[in-house]
């Protein structure tokens, strides 16, 4: 059986092409053969010059104008066929020897060799020896042997070809003349034509007679064959028709079929150009007959020795080839199926191989690729049964042809994968839009079992064929695509076969098919906050504003327009600044995977990638950081990674893995390699379009003291020093500093000026900044208020992550930079943003527990001992004064007495491990604006109580006296708020006034509150302030009026000893009043009350006492005063029958009139009968009280008397009873 047969085969002249002489280099041989092979059709018209008609040509109808001879070159020659007589085209009719002169210097020997070789081709009618590239010597030598060797002197290609053509035409003419000779000879003499079918052994007389009868038919058929070869179909047809008739008559079925076949060939050659349905029908009909005839000629008795099945198969294949068109597919398929059935019964394995090859080719040209692949695989299996390398190579090649149909082809052979880089890029960006259907199409026809079998066979055959790269590629495809179906042992075996193949490959070999690991893009490292790039335009000078969301919201509806499609985010890389890309690797196999190097594959050529090496244990995945440096301005595309693994370098495209994962998500692929390695499902990372821009300045921050968070107690104030360095290559000419993030209020000051004064910041230059921070108060959510938890050290309230304020610095280089791409127009390079988080960890510090108001009454004491010189007149000795005042605020001066002393008690607890010293300061720089008496006493702006130390896990109470806050005058305006709204006078004006005064009052309250400051200090460095405003305000809210407002009347007692008054009591002149009120009303009280007694008051002595009554209002007050004295038991000791005190003067019902803001005195004398302690009390009933007094006394009805009572005043009486 022969390959490549068709119906026209019968008209082809076979010419053996044999290389002779020294070994011809491959390239040369191919060149010479291709030169010959160009001339397969030699027109008769072109050979007429070489043709000479010796006798009358038997080809009477030869169309010299249109016909041609057809050559078929059999390179390397062919063994003689036993069926030569049956079909003349099976004969080798000419022999061409090819000689490469440089390889064979001795032409004589070459001629001899050719002669002996060509002797083997008995049927050859013409022999030629072509010698190429002869030397001059050889040319000279060859000239003598011009008959036996044809030399082609070295010349240009065109001339060479012309020479060859001429020689071929000469050969064609020779052959034609030989055919004529043969035909004439055959017609006259007749030859005995035999086929292997004709039995030789039992040549009985019957057979001989039969053969004689058949001889004529056979001769006619053979003459027809030669007519065909000579390009004369009409003549041929005539002979064939005769032969058919004769053969039918003699029952020579086989030759009948042969003649019929020849007639079809003649018909087709004759009507070469016009192919119509009629011709097709005719051909089809005749060929089916031919097939039938061949089938009939199958003889059971000599089936063992020789079979006509090959002819039947050939006829079927020829017809199939003739019909091989899509609309006739059904018929062709039927023919091919029959042929494949027939091939089974072929004895010769190579015949079966050829028939399968032909079937596969025909199915392929019909478009049935799976069928073609199936038969190709059958061919490969037949090849593999032969145990030699060339068969294995053939098997490997055939299998790699089938790999496309089974969807396991190597990427190297797949054109689609070799797309241009820009196409790759577009593929990447359009990836999100892939239609689900097209995803399915990617995984169509996945017959995993078959694919694995095919790949295994390719692997096996390429190992046998000694092609390590093909073996590596097949093993790689097998492992990568089908690892879930392969046992761990099988996976390891594949790994070792990969390693074995790699051992036989030169280092640095590249393969188109990736193995492991699976690589997917994890994410792009966006510019860290240190390097963020902000677009700016020249029109907007404050380009930094609005560049970042300043609020706490990541999403704002206003910024939506800009970043609508987050998948399409653009990345900007900067020349010379390293960038990082995160990729995830997965090794789903059962062996350790050593990735010798992996780096980003960049096709745009403006990126230097840094390789890393990774080791992946079995069934693991890992995210690794791949980095590189952009080197040139322009776009960058990163389609994947270059991986050196198992000894071979491969490119892994992200897109492939993305498709695979999509397929896995839709259940089209067996397994997701990442999921089976335990990696979390990742949203597909998309490639932004990356562009590289020229260098920009780069500010790098360094927080002095390290990046660790500064641990601060709540309210602690500290400085953070930040060092900024320009690490770029471009100076910074513009900078702007702002705050962002949470707890911005805790930043007390930012050093904008320091930074601006340092500009321009040259590359490498450094500037140091100081930011002052006051640690914020932990909110309830931040700290844990559970006392049980608070006791344990670490779970104590600590500020949460992300609550730090951020220092944002926008900066930019000079604008005059020239863009490389557009040198004519200056562009504005983008600015950058540096975000320095002010890492502060706020821990719970001194804790404020509660505040409450205490009021106490301690009677003033009258004694001989003078109190400390707390005279208000000594204003010259300021220090002293201040000191005494400070003292007086905390301590209760037993001689001074007290009257409704109000104290603010702050309870503080210290849950920390350190000791806190607490200092309470009261600021007194208040301006009291009342009745045009404005007093600002700056000298005594602040004074504090002594430090209170609070140990850890302890709490303490701090008392703050509140006398200082009393207003000096009781004014009607203060009671505006008390004017009852229920009066029904809710007119607008009144409500406005009311609001106004309310606001005033609120202001004075908050003023009061803000005067109190609790500062703390802990250790050497920590100090801060406790924020207790709200708590204090809450504590004071209820009784703020009592604290602020003075009583309408204040009472005081003083001793008048021997008729001499105490000198310091004369203080009612305006100047003194001023100085008094400056300290607030309590001081004026004190002045009144500060009773000086030279010595102790003794019993049985007349004591002169004076009561002072002061009017604190702006109205004249009329009143009725009464005085009492009580003993320690609280009994009235002036009246009653048990009176122990005698008196002189009036003690009750004293009618007095006190002018506004003035004082009156009323003297009296007491005589104590019993020594001991007594309290003096003054009380008054105010007559005709006005509204102010009424509201101060909080009485509703005008009839109620207003009763004023002074503080008790203590007198210690000594002596003996």
């Amino acid at each position: 059986m022969e390959p490549d047969v068709s119906m026209e085969t019968g008209s082809m002249i076979r010419i053996a092409v044999i290389p002779v002489g020294g070994a011809i280099p491959h390239r040369r041989l191919r060149e010479y053969v291709s030169m010959l092979a160009r001339h397969t059709r030699i027109d008769l018209s072109s050979i007429s010059s070489f043709y000479s008609e010796h006798q009358k040509s038997p080809f009477t109808h030869q169309p010299w104008e249109s016909s041609s001879l057809r050559f078929k070159y059999m390179v390397g020659g062919a063994p003689p066929s036993p069926w030569e007589d049956f079909q003349a085209h099976r004969k080798i009719l000419a022999v061409i020897g090819l000689c490469h002169c440089p390889a064979s210097p001795d032409l004589h020997r070459v001629i001899e060799q050719f002669a002996s070789v060509s002797k083997g081709y008995a049927s050859a009618l013409a022999k030629r020896l072509f010698a190429f590239s002869p030397s001059d010597e050889q040319l000279k030598d060859g000239g003598e042997k011009a008959n036996s060797i044809i030399l082609f002197p070295p010349t240009d290609q065109q001339a060479h070809e012309l020479q060859v053509l001429t020689m071929i035409q000469d050969l064609a003419a020779t052959l034609l003349m030989e055919f004529e000779k043969w035909v004439l000879n055959a017609e006259s003499v007749g030859t005995i034509l035999k086929t292997p079918l004709d039995s030789q052994s039992n040549l009985g007389s019957e057979e001989v007679i039969k053969a004689k009868k058949r001889r004529l038919a056979r001769a006619q058929k053979t003459i027809g064959d030669y007519c065909l070869l000579a390009g004369s179909p009409v003549d041929a047809n005539a002979h064939f028709v005769t032969a058919i008739e004769l053969a039918r008559l003699t029952g020579d079925v086989f030759w009948h079929a042969g003649a019929l076949e020849g007639s079809v060939c003649a018909l087709l050659v004759d009507r070469m150009d016009e192919r119509d349905s009629l011709l097709e029908e005719e051909t089809k009909y005749r060929y089916y007959t031919v097939i039938q005839l061949y089938k009939r000629s199958y003889l059971q008795d000599n089936a063992q020795r020789v079979s006509t099945v090959t002819f039947e198969l050939e006829a079927q294949l020829k017809l199939a080839r003739y019909l091989c068109r899509r609309h006739l597919a059904k018929e062709v398929v039927e023919l091919l199926m029959n042929a494949s059935d027939g091939a089974k019964s072929l004895i010769d394995a190579s015949d079966r191989l050829i028939s399968y090859v032909e079937i596969a080719r025909l199915f392929g040209s019909l478009g049935y690729h799976r069928k073609a692949a199936f038969f190709s695989r059958q061919v490969a299996q037949l090849y593999l049964k032969q145990d030699n390398i060339s068969a294995a190579i053939s098997a490997m090649q055939v299998l790699s042809v089938t790999s496309k149909a089974y969807h396991v082809q190597s990427r190297g052979t797949n054109q689609k994968q070799h797309a241009a880089p820009d196409e790759l890029a577009s593929g990447n960006t359009d990836f999100g839009k892939i239609h689900p259907q097209s995803i399915i199409s990617l995984f169509e026809s996945q017959w995993s079992t078959l694919q694995m079998v095919v790949l295994r066979e390719i692997l096996m055959s390429s190992v046998r064929a000694g092609d390590p790269l093909a073996a590596w590629s097949a093993a790689a495809r097998l492992l990568r695509s089908f690892y879930p179906l392969i046992t761990p042992a099988g996976q390891s075996a594949l790994a070792s076969s990969l390693a074995n193949s790699a051992d036989r490959l030169p280092s640095g070999t590249r393969c188109a098919d990736p193995v492991l690991p699976f690589i997917r893009l994890h994410s792009f490292r966006m510019h860290p906050s240190q390097m963020e790039i902000i677009k700016r335009n020249s029109a907007k000078t404050d380009w930094w504003s609005g560049s970042a969301p300043s609020g706490p919201f990541i999403y704002t509806p206003f910024s939506k327009g800009g970043t609508a499609d987050s998948n399409k985010q653009d990345l900007t890389w900067i020349v010379g600044e390293p960038v990082q890309v995160l990729v995830e690797l997965a090794n789903p196999c059962a062996f350790d995977l050593m990735v010798e190097s992996i780096y980003l594959s960049v096709h745009s050529g403006n990126f230097d990638a840094f390789p890393v090496s990774v080791n992946l244990p079995p069934n693991t995945s890992r995210v690794i950081l791949l980095s590189g440096i952009p080197t040139k301005v322009g776009p960058v595309t990163i389609p994947g990674c270059i991986v050196h693994c198992f000894g071979v370098t491969t490119e892994h495209l992200f897109r492939d893995v993305d498709n695979l994962l999509l397929g896995a998500a839709q259940g089209l692929v067996l397994s997701d390699p990442f999921r089976c390695c335990g990696s979390v499902k990742l949203k597909n990372a998309h490639f932004p379009s990356i562009s590289v821009v020229p260098p920009l300045p780069l500010l790098v921050s360094y927080v002095v003291g390290g990046d660790g968070a500064t641990i601060l107690y709540e309210g602690e104030i500290c400085d953070i020093r930040i060092r900024l360095t320009n690490a770029g290559t471009v100076p910074i000419v513009q900078a702007h500093m702002s705050l962002s993030g949470k707890n911005q209020h805790s930043v007390v000051s930012i050093p904008c000026d320091t930074l601006n004064s340092a500009l321009p910041l040259k590359p490498g230059a450094e500037v140091s900044l100081t930011v002052t921070i006051k640690a914020w108060k932990l909110s309830l959510t931040d700290s844990d208020h559970d006392p049980g938890k608070n006791t344990s050290g670490n779970s104590r309230g600590v500020s949460k992550e992300g609550s730090n304020p951020l220092l944002v610095i926008h900066y930019a280089g000079p604008i005059s930079q020239i863009d490389e791409l557009h040198p004519s127009e200056p562009t504005v390079p983008p600015g950058r943003r540096l975000v320095v988080p002010l890492h502060i960890s706020v821990i719970q510090g001194l804790r404020f527990v509660k505040a409450r108001l205490l009021s106490m009454e301690i009677p003033a004491r009258v004694s001989e001992i003078l109190p400390k010189p707390a005279t208000l007149n000594d204003i010259n000795t300021e220090d002293n004064t201040v000191h005494s005042r400070m003292d007086s605020l905390v301590k209760i001066d037993p001689y001074r007495g007290s009257w409704e002393l109000r104290l603010l008690e702050l309870e503080l607890s210290n849950p920390t491990d350190v000791v806190f010293d607490v200092n309470v300061f009261v600021q007194l720089d208040t301006s009291v604006n009342n009745n045009n008496i404005t007093v600002v006493d700056h000298d005594t702006a602040e004074f504090g109580c002594p430090k209170t130390r609070i140990d850890h896990d302890c709490s303490a109470r701090v008392l703050i006296p509140l006398e200082h806050f009393k207003l000096p005058i009781l004014d009607s305006s203060l009671f505006a708020k008390d004017s009852p709204a229920s009066d029904g006078f809710g007119s607008k004006s009144s409500s406005f006034k009311e609001r106004n005064t309310k606001a005033e009052l609120a202001a004075s309250i908050s003023n009061l509150v803000s005067k109190i400051k609790v500062r703390w200090q802990s250790g050497r460095n920590s100090s801060g302030e406790l924020n207790i405003k709200d708590a204090v305000q809450a504590a004071l809210q209820a009784s703020v009026m009592d604290i602020l407002l003075p009583d309408p009347l204040t009472f005081g007692f003083r001793l008048i000893n021997n008729g001499s008054r105490t000198e310091n009591i004369v203080n009612l002149d305006p100047v003194n009043l001023k100085s008094n009120t400056s300290d607030g009303s309590p001081d004026s009280h004190r002045d009144v009350i500060k009773v000086r007694s030279r010595s102790l008051i003794s019993a049985h002595e007349m004591t002169d006492i004076e009561v002072l009554i002061r009017n604190n209002t702006r109205e004249l007050i009329r009143m009725s005063l009464s005085l009492t004295c009580r003993d320690v038991a609280g009994d009235n000791c002036i009246e009653g029958h048990n009176a122990t005190v005698l008196w002189a003067g009036i003690l009750s019902g004293i009618s007095l009139e006190i002018p506004p803001l003035d004082e009156v005195t009323h003297p009296f004398s007491l005589y104590f009968l019993v020594p001991g302690e007594y309290s003096l009390l003054a009380a008054a009933i105010i007559d005709d009280a006005n509204d102010v007094l009424r509201s101060r006394a909080r009485t509703g009805s005008p009839e109620d008397p207003i009763f004023c009572r002074g503080s008790p005043f203590r007198i210690n009486v000594t002596g003996t009873a």
Binding site: A329, K330, V333, M337, S340, D341, K344, F363, G367, Y368, H369, R370, K371, A373, F374, F375, R377, Y406, I440, S441, F443, E444, S445, Q446, W447, T449, L450, V453, L668
Partner: protein
């Protein structure tokens, strides 16, 4: 000598969704692969043939050696393919119809 059969359901995307080696012949892996190869190749012919006939059952539409391929094409172009060596057409047809019915039931269950 046992009978050989290989049954396979191929989705409309040419992906095999079910495969079963039936028959009483001694099962060899090689043979099973060969069966699948034959069925895979038969898809080419079934694909063309399905459009030329209104019948769902394409009897013995392909063969290789002694093995015959019969195909049943459902309305959704899912193909039930049977590779067999016996020629009992009626039995094969009713087998296909039964499988088709079950296949539809399973599909409905999936939808529910």
């Amino acid at each position: 000598m046992g009978s050989t059969a290989c049954f396979i359901i191929v989705s409309r995307n040419d992906i095999p969704i079910y495969e079963a080696e039936l028959g009483s012949a001694i099962k060899k892996e090689e043979a099973a692969h060969q069966h699948q190869f034959i069925l895979h190749a038969a898809l080419d012919i079934a694909q063309d043939l399905a459009w030329t006939t209104s019948a769902m059952f394409l009897k013995a539409m392909d063969r290789f050696n002694e093995l015959v391929v019969s195909v049943y094409v459902t309305a959704g172009h899912t193909r039930l393919m049977l590779l067999h060596d016996s020629r009992n057409e009626d039995a094969i047809k009713s087998f296909f119809q039964e499988v088709h019915e079950l296949y539809i039931k399973v599909q409905l269950l999936c939808i529910v």
